[in-house]
Symmetry: C2
DNA sequence: TTATATACCTCGTCTGTCAAGGTATATAAC
DNA sequence: GTTATATACCTTGACAGACGAGGTATATAA
């Protein structure tokens, strides 16, 4: 595992939920958006991405439906649920808190 | 695992090295310093702490020696090595980069 | 002698990540 | 026609870090 991944570890769900706040989307597109936003510095590995979708759907944070494209590969779309929005807000608050803690901890004195 | 722990995951080594930059120290004291610095909001679990010491010593980032207390429980002191300092600097840079990436990723738009 | 604080350690489990593999559709190149 | 690339989904098995639960030992205070 790369160091950057270890740093992002635990935030995968938050990142995905953030993408879904704006509009429904599907795995491939979400990953492209992440790569673009970070200027190619970060991407979610496919296995990680689809594991996260399963986890989020099981916990009621997202729901899914198949798109009705009549051309190209099929797409599975995801929607964020009200519970997902709550969880998102909670996770962002957690991130802000733990980022603050780390700032205090990783610099000497 | 608590959410906060998952956020800190991967930063344990950096936190420990940061403590050792100032002076040699031992496990129990390092943990107390962390609890104090974060106002009790975070602590390293003992199993995590001693796993990290083993990992850091094996990778040449720290060395250890037994203290010569003639009272109380024995203490195992750790020193950061030049290689450990390098690693620390690398990890801090990584943290700063990934914190920036996350800022861009966890907020919509 | 019982409790608390200090101080160290290990074992086994859990969870998130990811390499490696797979399937299927559409387009462009040769 | 077939080979390559892009799109788009998925699963399996292994790995690594975190940690609950247990253990050992010393000193002091109740």
């Amino acid at each position: 595992m790369s160091l950057a991944s270890d740093m992002i570890r635990g935030h995968t769900d938050t990142i995905i939920l953030a993408q879904l706040l704006k509009e429904d989307s599907y795995g491939y597109k979400i990953n492209r958006a992440i790569v673009e936003k970070t200027g190619g510095l970060f991407e979610l590995k496919e296995a990680t991405l689809y594991t996260a979708f399963r986890r989020l759907e099981q916990s009621g944070c997202i729901t899914s439906y198949w798109g009705d494209e009549n051309t190209g590969a099929r797409r599975k779309y995801y929607s964020i649920t009200p519970h997902g929005v709550e969880e998102y807000n909670r996770m962002v608050a957690q991130w802000e808190q733990s980022a603050g803690l780390l700032q205090r901890l990783i610099y000497p004195e």
